[in-house]
């Protein structure tokens, strides 16, 4: 969003005036709340916020201009915080409420939504965490991997699905020339931490908490559920986040299998991809992997979107 004008236009007589007015109001609405969840008392140029709000918002007999603007300011932040919390339960659990809140506020302030849908709100979170390591220190590497994993879940949930390549059609092309695409909803992740198991444990814990609120012996269940999920220790993990019959799944991969899929995703021929698997990719293993991947419907015709999928 471009910098707001110094003053909101007194008259709106053109689209340019309307845009100027909307820049002013939007800048005020998305401005971070203060420590007490109130509209900040000063505007970006140092003037009292009440004075700035009164320039374009009318007061009424119950609320000042400042208070009317504050309603929108709070609703913006509460709505977007809720959306991030819903999408990132693992990140919230790993960082804790306070650090997660600081990270979410900084992220939304520096990377406000650029999409018409809240579905895409966390698409840039992993990159933001890496660019601003202090916000998640000392767990930056773990936090970034969890954010990446949780975004992959969103992609797997409702990402594009393309026609599956039939096994019979593969046999017609030489492996030296055959190139396969990976379904757009499949994300390959090479991770330093087993975040798949961690996120599953967090979700299970959250589900128990939710259940506990409706059970008579909730104290026992609640105590168990309230126990914090143990943070994962570093352990090299290769995983594919995907869906089957429209349900989310996380499939652990052997390193060789990951390298083969990654090579295919980058556009390598089948022969080169299998070679990229290395010595551990024995013919028997490769055959078994491809049988599974075909059964899961992971392969489709190649498209441009596939190139950057593996990470």
């Amino acid at each position: 969003m471009k910098r707001p004008p110094k003053h909101a236009p007194a008259r709106i007589a053109s689209t340019a005036d309307l845009r100027s007015f909307q820049r002013m109001m939007a800048a005020a609405v998305v401005r971070p709340l203060d420590a007490n969840d109130n509209l900040q008392s000063r505007w970006i140029d140092g003037r009292p916020m009440g004075e700035v709000a009164a320039e374009f918002i009318k007061p009424n007999d119950r609320l000042t201009s400042f208070e009317r603007l504050e309603l929108y300011n709070r609703m913006y932040w509460y709505r977007l915080f809720d959306a991030i919390r819903d999408d990132c339960p693992g990140l919230l659990a790993a960082l804790g409420e306070a650090a997660f809140g600081r990270l979410a506020q900084a992220y939304l302030a520096k990377r406000p939504s650029r999409s018409f849908t809240l579905r895409n709100l966390c698409s840039r979170l992993e990159a933001f965490i890496r660019e601003h390591p202090r916000l998640s220190a000392p767990r930056t590497a773990l936090a970034a991997e969890i954010a990446r994993f949780e975004w992959a879940q969103t992609v797997a949930f409702d990402g594009e699905s393309r026609p599956v390549v039939a096994a019979a059609s593969l046999a017609k092309t030489s492996p030296a020339r055959l190139r396969l695409g990976l379904q757009p909803y499949v994300t390959l992740l090479a991770l330093r931490y087993p975040v798949d198991a961690y996120v599953v444990s967090v979700k299970r814990r959250d589900a128990m908490r939710s259940e506990a609120s409706n059970t008579p012996d909730s104290n026992i269940v609640h105590r168990r559920a309230a126990r914090r999920s143990r943070l994962p220790r570093p352990s090299r993990t290769f995983v594919a986040v995907h869906r089957l019959d429209n349900r989310l799944y996380y499939k652990r991969l052997e390193p060789e299998a990951f390298r083969i899929l990654g090579a295919l995703a980058r556009g390598a021929t089948l022969a080169r991809a299998v070679a990229a698997g290395g010595r551990g990719a024995t013919p028997a293993k490769v055959k078994g992997w491809f049988t599974t991947w075909m059964a899961l419907g992971w392969f489709c015709a190649r498209g441009n979107k596939r190139r950057a999928r593996a990470s």
Binding site: M1, K2, A8, P9, A10, R11, I12, A13, S14, T15, A16, D17, L18, R19, F21, Q22, R23, M25, A26, V29, V30, E55, F56, I57, K58, N60, D61, R62, L63, E67, R68, L69, L71, Y72, M75, Y76, R79, L80, A83, P112, S113, R114, S115, F116, T117, L118, R119, A156, F157, D158, G159, E160, S161, P184, Y185, R243, N246, R247
Partner: protein, 282 residues
């Protein structure tokens, strides 16, 4: 108006919003419902469970699309990706009309994800009407614009909200999704007479109505959609029905959502007022 060019000449009855907590009930029990309203953005995706579920609903029910982020009142041009996805979804659902709000919420491509009130000026009305026409021409489905509830008014405004609504829909030649609860909420927040609002809009353009619950606070009312409809809103609805005719009506219940039957029964209360309006018309 029961059926007009703004709602695709459809004489739909009373519907409710399609919401996640009710999915399994709807799919397993197949309750009789006139129609469902879907939030377009929830299904403007490329695959997966949302579209599978939508297709199952479409096999059994009539669906009307309601959007929350087209932002007809934003100075920005319509987002092309958004338009394409909306058109694709409209072709999938065969929605006879689609609706979105008379508001703004984005600027320079940054989205607030809120329904922000417009400054009621002639220039803003012209720009808004132009965008409504652009969207309708692209999606090729009649459009109804919904009045929003609001908590702020602007010095720059040159007319009342109902004059602005009338100006926009006349310039755009589009329909109105008349949200009776929103009129009530705004009337309390801005101290105007909601009946004056209802009496001074182009009634023949109303293609659909919304009713919903709200929450009263000490100094203002919030449009929370988490309660049954309150009596003053039903009274306004009865008046709106007398003024505009019996229109497709939808109950919005989006938070603290109770059972399907409770939501549906609340919506069906509209029948009492519809019957009254029909008798009065005889």
């Amino acid at each position: 108006m029961p059926a007009n060019r703004f709602n695709g000449h459809c004489d739909y009855g009373i519907g409710i919003g399609l919401r996640v907590p009710h999915y399994s009930h709807i799919l397993s029990k197949k309750p009789v419902v006139d129609w469902f309203e879907i939030i377009s953005e929830n299904f403007m995706v490329e695959g997966g469970r949302p579209l599978e579920l939508l297709d199952r609903i479409l096999e059994q029910y009539r669906v009307v699309q309601h959007g929350v982020s087209m932002y007809f009142g934003s100075a920005d041009k319509p987002d092309r990706t958004h338009l394409r996805r909306l058109r694709d979804l409209a072709r999938r659902t065969k929605t006879p009309w689609l609706s979105d709000h008379l508001c703004w919420g984005s600027v320079d491509g940054t989205y607030t994800h809120d329904l922000l009130p417009m400054p009621y000026t002639f220039a803003a009305a012209r720009r808004t009407a132009e965008k409504i026409r652009q969207v309708r021409d692209f999606v090729e489905v009649p459009i109804c614009v919904e009045n929003v509830s609001s908590y702020a008014e602007f010095h720059a405004s040159e007319m009342t909200e109902w004059e602005f609504l009338s100006e926009v829909v006349e310039l755009a030649d589009c329909g109105i999704l008349l949200d009776v609860n929103n009129i009530y909420v705004s009337s309390k927040n801005h101290s105007f007479d909601p009946y004056e609002y209802l009496n001074n809009i182009p009634h023949h353009r109303v293609g659909q109505m919304h009713v919903a619950g709200h929450t009263k606070f000490e100094k203002y009312i919030l449009d929370t959609h988490d309660h049954p409809v309150l009596d003053p809103v039903w009274k306004l609805y009865a008046h709106a029905t007398r003024m505009c005719g019996v229109s497709a009506t939808l109950l919005e219940w989006d938070d603290k959502i109770p059972s399907f039957d409770e939501v549906h029964n609340e919506a069906l209360k509209a029948n009492e007022f519809i019957d009254g309006a029909k008798k009065a018309a005889v």
